[in-house]
Symmetry: C2
Subunit: 364 residues, 2 copies
Amino acid sequence: MRELTVDLGERSYPIYIGEGLLQSAAVYFTKHGISKSSKLFIVSDTQVAPLYLSSLEDHLQSEGFQTASVVVEAGEGTKSLAVLEELVGKALEAGLDRKSAIVALGGGVVGDLTGFLAASYMRGVKFVQIPTTILAHDSSVGGKVAVNHPLAKNIIGAFHQPELVLYDLNTLQSLPRREVAAGLSEVVKEGLIWDREFVDWCAGHSKELLALEPAALEYALYKGCSVKAAVVSEDERETGLRAILNLGHTIGHALEAVAGYGELLHGEAIAIGMVGSAKLGVRYGAPQEVFDRTKSLLASFGLPVRLPGHLDTGAIMAAMMHDKKFEANKMVFVVPTAIGQVEIRNDVPAEWVREIVEELKREA
Amino acid sequence: MRELTVDLGERSYPIYIGEGLLQSAAVYFTKHGISKSSKLFIVSDTQVAPLYLSSLEDHLQSEGFQTASVVVEAGEGTKSLAVLEELVGKALEAGLDRKSAIVALGGGVVGDLTGFLAASYMRGVKFVQIPTTILAHDSSVGGKVAVNHPLAKNIIGAFHQPELVLYDLNTLQSLPRREVAAGLSEVVKEGLIWDREFVDWCAGHSKELLALEPAALEYALYKGCSVKAAVVSEDERETGLRAILNLGHTIGHALEAVAGYGELLHGEAIAIGMVGSAKLGVRYGAPQEVFDRTKSLLASFGLPVRLPGHLDTGAIMAAMMHDKKFEANKMVFVVPTAIGQVEIRNDVPAEWVREIVEELKREA
């Protein structure tokens, strides 16, 4: 078992990563100020709840906690104000008060939705995250919680830090292989922006990680969370440094939007985006290895590194322009300068980006 | 013009109270970090917008600000997640980004709704309050913002402090007389919990206040905001002291619920509640003058001090029990110990409260 602390002054909190943590959740809850007198309200979804919800509730109840739970539909559509309103109703019916705690058991969608519920219910109650996907390592650090609006994703939200995060590696064993790779894409990203040694380690352990070998997975999640924690500690409210976490996301978000959500998983779209950013880095003078290694590393995880040819370049460019509201011909990008190092450039010619999108379609 | 500061460390902000401030809003905006490069999004309601919105927008635009505005239906029904979702859509269409500021022009409903919009849009943008009722002096201090759920009022919200509050006394001149008195009820409350001298001053100036005489009004709002600011500075997140602001509210909320919203204005209901609390104070040993002066002071403002006889005592007791989830026979009350001084008691026998409700019906 590994532990790290997200250092945010008064709002600091621990992340525990290990096997079988769900079965000792009560110990960690108690240790971090969630007492048995606090009622617990657990939110999970239709994919995760059948696997882990009743055993978690049984465990907590046998340790003397009072729990109530609710299961939401799996999928991005659940991150809405309408579902939030339903959850508030259930929380009221369950008698949740200001001393209660709200627990998210699931992936990123459940974490974001439940986190915003915890941030806004009675103007804020305690929050615990139990992520059940690899991708959720990302949203479990930093306190960004939100729901979607029909016109924009994650537009209604808050910064609300959890009291603790429990990452039980056993819950990851049930993930489909494609989601494993897509989740690892964000883990690799943490290396690419911050830590060359960790990039080297990832390159040497792709097989173990794809096979969900616990020791490798524990280390990778520990390192991924640590990088994100270091960045977030310096910039909790996302006013500067935190932007480097968006490596690959400008192109990635545009691909998700143009392909329609579903064709490309988030981690797959940002893998292609990271290859594009590496190309940009080389144009700005980074060594060729930045591109070569980024591409081969992502490919070794079975992630796509080529842009699907049927996606229209104009539409991709328009989506980027819309997403970030860039000035006419200058775009902002996180650009690698070396393996494990990036800079933020706000002067990237849109023409270069267009050329790179075209190149990404042609190359294998 | 008077100015006071709500002292909350990094989140401190000024309140300006005076005549004609709407016409110099640009000066105060600029002084407090709302620059002309920040787009402004103004929310008002169908009662207030026809009177003041276009002149405010004209002024701001003539000073070089970019503004967009939206008018919501007046009334408590507007404080909903559905309206919040509409406003987020309009804000997106208006191109609001993280550097923009959202302005509430109106009473408590507009302030609460717009404040929660500012708290949650893109996880929080700058917020400016321009209150147009006397009652809103209360919600303009302390950063409590929220919308309602069908099952509970103010249950979904945040603590989000404004950058500044502009209280233009001219906007109060259009208030109906009944709302003037109801608003002054909360002003008198600030005196009763904290400041005997201010209670004496109120008693000597009820006529001037009811006539909306600017000098008296300016002083009363300044003192009311100052008391609330002092309390909130010591307890921003409402963990202790801040509860004294609820003098009269336990009975008051129950009366509003049982009478149906509309029969009693909020300030009227809490006036009756404050008379009840004073009765309770005398039972606990406060001098008789606490009751006599509280009642005569409120009556001098034309506020009700007797509980409408047709309201059922059992229903009122049930509403109190439901509202605060009290233990079986012990209730929590803010209880006056002297004029300008209160204590919080958590051991009030429900039977005493029932007797006082009955007495409040009988006495003139």
